[in-house]
């Protein structure tokens, strides 16, 4: 009895090694394709699919085609863990791109790290993501790199004397953005008139904004997701507040300012990606995205697009053995050496400085673009 299973097992092992050596490179995409975070997750998926098609159309990586394994983690921690396990143990992907929200990464990242599978975040900007372990990478620029430049630029432009702050306090992304803002404002010795909060799902911010108005700030610093930001801006204007906004990463949505029209004028935002960046690789990305999806790309699509090219550059240097564990390790070792001039500008990795001092993953080493909003559109800030 015990002898029989070995034959099919051997066969399976043989076919597995054959298919891996000369066919598809399985790469996992685990992002929120439904639920509240789906507006980011779908843009991210679009970026990956576009890049994969481009790479495959040019003959793949050393002759191997990329096969994306795309799963919906619904923007939930539990679901992210499930999807990660499926992709690691069942699909045997070489790397997982995802998840969409920092919250989910804190839950699912350790699973991938423990299974020695590289995990590559393109949208997690919270502090401490790469503390999870040496298999964790991200090309999402941390707010700690962007916000000091945003605030300093706005302060100089408007001659700000004091600001008010509003942020969402039940979301890892907006809360960590607030923590950075707080630190930056303290570092730059900017007095804060009042700090107001709201929770996810709120649509009425008038109570907080009325309070902010009473403290007469020169600007309002806002660590919010795009969906709340539009209402905050519109409701501030409807209450007669004319102070400009300074936004965190959540403001990086051209759509936000289409919606808020003139109300958002004068807003300062720092972004890892600029629609208006004239670099040919960026303009080619925008054109290809528009052609494929009939919609404008955003920062999240751009970062996903770059992430696949970064992984592809690393895979180019890896000799695929067909042993998934060895290949994951080889990819993990190759990734930090990659440099890329992508849609988001010149990119390289930087080893994370962890709180504990233990070896962590790799953060993005990239300069942000500073925008101002004019007539409902992002424009690269060119100085006064």
């Amino acid at each position: 009895m015990r002898k029989f299973p070995t034959v099919p097992l051997l066969l399976a092992a043989l076919t597995a090694s054959f298919s891996a050596s000369a066919a598809d490179l399985k790469l996992g995409v685990a992002h929120a394709l439904s639920g509240g975070a789906a507006q980011y997750g779908t843009a991210i998926r679009n970026g990956f699919v576009l890049a994969a098609e481009e790479i495959n159309a040019k003959g793949g990586i050393n002759g191997n085609k990329i096969q994306l394994v795309i799963d919906d983690e619904q923007g939930k921690k539990e679901e992210a863990i499930n999807v990660f396990k499926k992709q690691i143990f069942q699909d045997k992907v070489l790397i997982i791109f995802g998840p969409t929200l920092s919250n989910s990464m804190f839950a699912a990242g350790p699973v991938a790290n423990a299974a020695k599978t590289p995990v590559f975040a393109t949208s997690n900007t919270a502090y401490g993501i790469t503390d999870i372990g040496p298999f964790v990478f991200r090309n999402s620029v941390m707010e700690a790199d962007v916000l000091p430049i945003t605030v300093a630029t706005a302060t100089k432009h408007y001659g700000l004397k004091k600001v008010a702050v509003i942020y969402g306090n039940d979301d890892a992304f907006t809360k960590s953005g607030y923590d950075v803002f707080k630190q930056v404002l303290a570092d730059q010795k900017m007095p804060v008139t009042t700090t107001e909060t709201y929770v996810k799902g709120d649509v009425d911010f008038k109570a907080q904004l009325t309070k902010i108005k009473a403290t007469a700030p020169d600007a309002i610093v806002c660590s919010c997701l795009a969906e709340e930001a539009a209402n905050i801006i519109l409701q501030a204007r409807s209450l007669g507040i004319s102070a400009p906004f300074i936004g965190g990463n959540g403001f990086n949505s051209p759509k936000l300012f289409e919606i808020s029209k003139q109300a958002g004028n004068g807003t300062f935002v720092g972004s890892p990606w600029a629609n208006a960046n004239p670099a040919p690789v960026n303009q080619a990305f925008i054109a290809a995205y528009k052609k494929k999806y009939n919609a404008d790309p955003n920062q999240f699509a751009a970062q996903a697009y770059d992430a696949l090219y970064i992984a592809a550059a690393a895979l180019q240097t890896v000799k695929i053995s067909g042993n998934v564990e060895a290949d994951r390790q080889a990819l993990r070792d190759a990734l930090p050496k990659v440099t890329l001039n992508g849609a988001t500008g010149p990119f390289k990795f930087r080893p994370a400085v962890t709180k504990t001092g233990k070896p962590g993953g790799f953060d993005a080493d990239q300069k942000p673009f500073i925008y101002t909003v004019q007539n409902g559109k992002f424009e690269l800030y060119k100085g006064k």
Partner: protein
């Protein structure tokens, strides 16, 4: 600042009241906590948005069409789901669970049809008027929400108290069986109530969608929680209670955010609610519970 906060509280309170109206009506007559009301509310927003975008209709017509669509949906839910459950004498929790399912279904359908992105009414259709008195800003839309909430409440109240239909509905609320024996068309009135309640939910969805101008498939969930709080506070099934409860929650929220701490806004509002229920367990206008036992 105080005047502005009073107005903020009044509009927010009326938003809650408007939502709670249909919710409490269904409970009063059918004795069902219809947890799909949040999703119906969301459907109302999308229905009006689609009509405005595709057919370029004026706003008032879009609201009526949205009410009709939501009303028909409410009717459908009653006929397809609640009626069979009534016929089988299902315990109270069963229809409630069934309506959770309806809510999830509707939310997913909306996400499939319209996507997860936030949608907004085109700027041209929003009523543009704004009143500025000193430091206080009041938009025409907010004024309309307050007016509509009070008018609807009054109309429903008069119908329930002064008309033959209202008497029949109250008889059903007291005891469907006795009402049936008295020759009242109980099933017909159940259908009518479901229709009206869903239509009201749809109207609330349009008005609130217009006011905050952020329409998503998930917009029904947070307001559903507030709605439950409002009708419990007001007294389950009581029309006046929906208004008073809504206003109470609106004022408690705005004033705790405005004067105490925005961190604690909901905690304070719901804490107050808890204290009131300790004193009046059946809500402000609630019927005494022993009679039902």
């Amino acid at each position: 600042m105080l005047e502005q906060q009073l107005i903020n509280a009044l509009t927010l309170g009326c938003v809650y009241a408007l939502f709670a109206l249909g919710f409490t009506l269904v409970f009063g007559v059918l004795e069902v906590i219809n947890l799909s009301h949040g999703a119906v509310f969301m459907a109302g927003s999308y229905a009006a948005l689609s009509v405005v975008e595709k057919l370029n209709t004026p706003l008032w017509l879009a609201i009526l069409i949205a009410m009709l669509i939501c009303g028909l949906f409410g009717l459908l839910v009653d006929v397809l789901i609640l009626k069979p459950l009534r016929a089988r004498n299902a315990p109270h929790l069963i229809p409630m669970i069934a309506t959770i399912g309806v809510g999830i279904f509707l939310t997913n359908v909306a996400q499939g049809l319209f996507g997860a992105e936030i949608r907004r009414f085109p700027e041209e259709v929003l009523p543009a008027g704004e009143f500025v008195i000193g430091e206080v800003h009041l938009r025409a839309l907010e004024l309309a929400i307050v007016a509509i909430a009070f008018v609807l409440m009054a109309v429903l109240f008069v119908i329930l108290k002064r008309t033959q239909l209202g008497r029949a509905l109250r008889a059903i609320a007291e005891s469907p069986k006795a009402a049936y024996l008295l020759g009242i068309n109980v099933e017909g009135l159940f259908h009518l109530t479901s229709f009206v309640a869903a239509a009201l939910g749809g109207a609330a969805g349009v008005l609130i969608g217009l006011n905050f101008n952020a329409i998503t498939p998930f917009m029904g969930q947070p307001i559903l929680h507030k709605g439950i709080a409002v009708i419990i506070l007001g007294g389950m099934g009581d029309i006046r209670g929906a208004l008073i409860g809504g206003l109470f929650l609106g004022f408690a929220e705005v004033f705790s955010k405005g004067y105490l701490s925005s961190q604690m806004g909901d905690a304070i509002a719901f804490g107050l609610l808890f204290l009131i229920l300790l004193v009046r367990p059946s809500g402000l206008f609630g019927r005494v519970l022993e009679r039902k036992a």
